[in-house]
Symmetry: C2
């Protein structure tokens, strides 16, 4: 995993307050400047039926009534951005402990016709199996998975947000373990390849794809000098009209899970 892949590191705590600060704070009143609203929007992605799908809600209120939109909501005054994103994701899908990453902040003054709204967009990767029932939020009439390759008309600048999500996802696929987040604990190499294919939008060569994975094989006494990405499991899964297929799992599964 590339270093540049990490979330901003280091302590998030502000530096030590000085004595003068405390004095000042005692007299401080929040200013009365006009302020924008701040929301988080969550692009929730999964791979189902060999397709990359995104969770959208149909707006039942203006503006953009009846158009589809990425779920989102206001950031609480005592809530971090990550926490707000996690909360929205949980409200929408009931899931926890999934990969969640800040994408970009969209702040065009006219992106929301009501008032100034700045939105911090996140994207989440879910494995399809983990999904519980979808819940319609208070402002959503309907919730549905849409193919990223066949989207309806979208509200606000949400089309731009989805376009950028796909760009980011494709970029990270090359140098990170991000695909892991879309698969269950145990999977076949063909399933893994399908994930890459639906994200990249192109077919891959089976042999080259497998060569590119660093696999710790079962019956190799293998000195573990190199760091493996995948581990072959002693189990297999029975095929349908064909032979059994080997199962694998990821080593070092945890990466940027915001739980």
């Amino acid at each position: 995993m590339a270093e540049s892949d990490l979330k901003p590191a280091g302590s998030a705590l502000p530096a030590q307050l000085q004595p003068a600060d405390l004095e000042y704070l005692a007299k401080y009143h929040a200013s009365d400047y006009e302020r924008p609203s701040v929301t988080v929007d969550i692009v929730i992605l999964t791979v189902m039926e060999q397709d990359l799908r995104v969770l959208l809600i149909r707006r039942k209120l203006p503006p953009y009534q009846d158009l589809w939109a990425v779920p989102g909501g206001f950031v609480g005054m005592r809530e971090s951005l990550d926490a707000a994103a996690r909360r929205e994701l949980h409200e929408e899908t009931g899931v926890d402990n999934v990969y969640l990453e800040q994408l970009y902040t969209f702040g065009d003054p006219d992106r929301d016709p009501r008032t100034r709204v700045i939105t911090v967009a996140y994207y989440a990767l879910l494995e399809a199996g983990k999904l519980k029932t979808l819940r319609a939020g208070s402002d959503a009439g309907e919730v549905k998975w849409w193919s990223m390759y066949s989207l309806p008309e979208l509200a606000f600048d949400h089309r731009q947000i989805l376009d950028y999500t796909l760009q980011r996802l494709r970029g990270k696929l090359g140098y990170s373990n991000i695909a892991f987040q879309l698969l269950p604990e145990k999977f076949t190499l063909t399933e893994l390849q399908r994930v890459y294919e639906v994200i990249l939008g192109e077919k891959l060569d089976k042999r080259n794809f497998r060569k590119s994975l660093s696999i710790r094989e079962l019956n190799r006494p293998g000195r573990d000098k190199k760091s493996y990405m995948l581990e072959e499991l002693p189990e297999t899964r029975p095929g349908g009209n064909y032979g059994p297929t080997k199962l694998f799992r990821f080593i070092d599964r945890v990466e940027k899970i915001i739980s």
Copy 2:
């Protein structure tokens, strides 16, 4: 340049408003929810004296009085985030037309002890020669270039912002033309190599570095099939205690300049 390198593409315009929207908007009043403040902070970088430097201001007011901070300010209610960043950059340095890119949005509820402040961090790359005089902003007592490798104690979470900037910059160096932004129109290959070295924090091999650049040479009739990054110029610059050195310039200089 990698595709994933681009700023979110596509139209920034919201989709068409529906008739019902207009009706609704007529009745709409901005809600009275409590709102966070939103600022932009600009990490302004340049390469001077074979060092990577960042522009910091010393705070003359609490909180964190007398500590150094990244310049920033509030986002205007009718101002896009990019425009706010551009404005702050101009106020601080007097320069325009420089590379500016959104970095990350920091929104920990306690990052500012006064009140809830969410900041959208940007970074800017300046060529040292373009610099006019630095101006101290209203809340800054002093303005100074600091080495990224030897920073003072910083206010708020600004250390984290700088750490992340360096990570991003290093990451992009590998697959983009970003280094161009730190050099004047004409430069020597050694100067270019120095830029890479101070950003990466390591020495590079001269021959391998030059091999990695795709250069359109002067006296090659060269069919221009491939896209070159650099172009050799007919001029040279006299060396000091040594021979003259060839000058080069970048082809396709413009990239993500927010002017």
